[in-house]
């Protein structure tokens, strides 16, 4: 049976899609068979971040409504053979996703041998977000070190603990992980930004990864390549560590400390 991981946050613009693309690619690079599903019906974007927007023929809603087979709708990643994407539909019909339909697609993915299914949740707490988390075994809650994002994450943690299938059927809770993105160690050192410890303490949960703020994230999205694939960048290495931790490995946190600067640099800037 496939392990279902939802990538969620409540607040928009914190890096859910970037994270979904990178975690899915990271797991695929570790030889797992991975399917990643865009649940943001009406606002399809994961295809763009993964660079396969011109190859979308059928989408998630087409599969649910029986317009095509699951196999026809799955888009094979051009870099990694064992990674597949199911694109969101661009329909404006909010009721296009149904619990029964989503359940059927997830079961079929599991039966066709996928090890991991990554569900990229839309922002908010409406139907799309609810269905993205409903069947999850694990959740990656993406949070920025900023007040509104932290508060919304706590709201999402509450929903994961009460409104998911696991919570309702009482067969163990959803395993929750925090993933901090847009982290700026220099601003944290200056007391201008919440630290990893602050966020862990407020939400009462350990972080599975800390992704430093990096120009490479925008560069990767511009190019349609998940940022984790760029081995040169700190953000990519931080995502690789997060994937390793999701797979149960112990890894020390990197890129969370401000680089030491000498007296000269501090006085004259740079």
């Amino acid at each position: 049976m496939a392990e279902i991981i939802v990538v969620t946050s409540g607040k928009g613009g914190v890096g859910k899609t970037t994270t979904s693309a990178s975690i899915a690619s990271g797991l695929a690079r570790r030889d797992k068979r991975v399917a990643v599903i865009d649940f943001d019906i009406g606002l399809r974007n994961l295809d763009l971040i993964m660079g396969c927007e011109r190859r979308v023929v059928y989408d998630f809603v087409n599969v649910i409504q029986g317009d095509c087979t699951l196999k026809q709708a799955l888009i094979k990643d051009k870099r990694l053979d064992n990674l597949h994407l199911l694109a969101a539909s661009q329909t404006r019909d909010k009721d296009a996703l149904t619990e029964e339909g989503v359940s059927r697609v997830l079961d079929e993915l599991g039966a066709s041998g996928f090890d991991y299914i990554i569900c990229d949740s839309p922002a908010g707490i409406e139907k799309g977000a609810h269905l993205a988390m409903y069947f999850a075994d694990q959740a990656v809650v993406v949070v920025n070190p900023e007040v509104s994002s932290v508060r919304d994450s706590d709201r999402i943690l509450g929903l994961l603990a009460s409104k998911t299938k696991r919570a309702k059927q009482g067969n163990g809770k959803v395993t929750e992980h925090l993933l901090l993105t847009r982290y700026n160690p220099l601003r944290v050192a200056k007391g201008e930004m919440l630290s990893v410890d602050d966020v862990q303490e407020i939400l009462g949960l350990d972080v599975v990864g800390v992704i430093p703020e990096s120009p490479e994230v925008l560069a990767a999205s511009n190019a349609g390549v998940p940022v984790i694939m760029n081995n040169e960048s700190d953000a990519a290495l931080a995502y690789q560590d997060a994937v390793d931790r999701l797979l149960g490995e112990e890894k020390p946190m990197r890129f969370t400390e401000a680089p030491k600067r000498g007296m000269f640099a501090r006085m004259f800037g740079g």
Partner: protein, 93 residues
Amino acid sequence: MGLLDLFRKPTKSAGLAKERLRIIVAQERSNRSAPDYLPLLRREILEVIHRYVNINPDAVQINVGHEEGQDVFELSVSLPVKPPTAVQSLPRS
């Protein structure tokens, strides 16, 4: 950052963010565990009391807590200091 920044007062706003979040998260978590009929229950109790006594809406406090393995429902109504006046004229909703 340059020479002048050495004399500028640093802005340590992260502590403020942490403190505010700690309070609001704790408050929202306590509401989360409460049954979802509480706001309606509170409003109806307020309406009933209001038929007899002119109290202000904040006077009715409802808390649900856990004590020794059971839920404790706590209702407190503070009445005005002045002798309560009957308000028969209030329209019944």
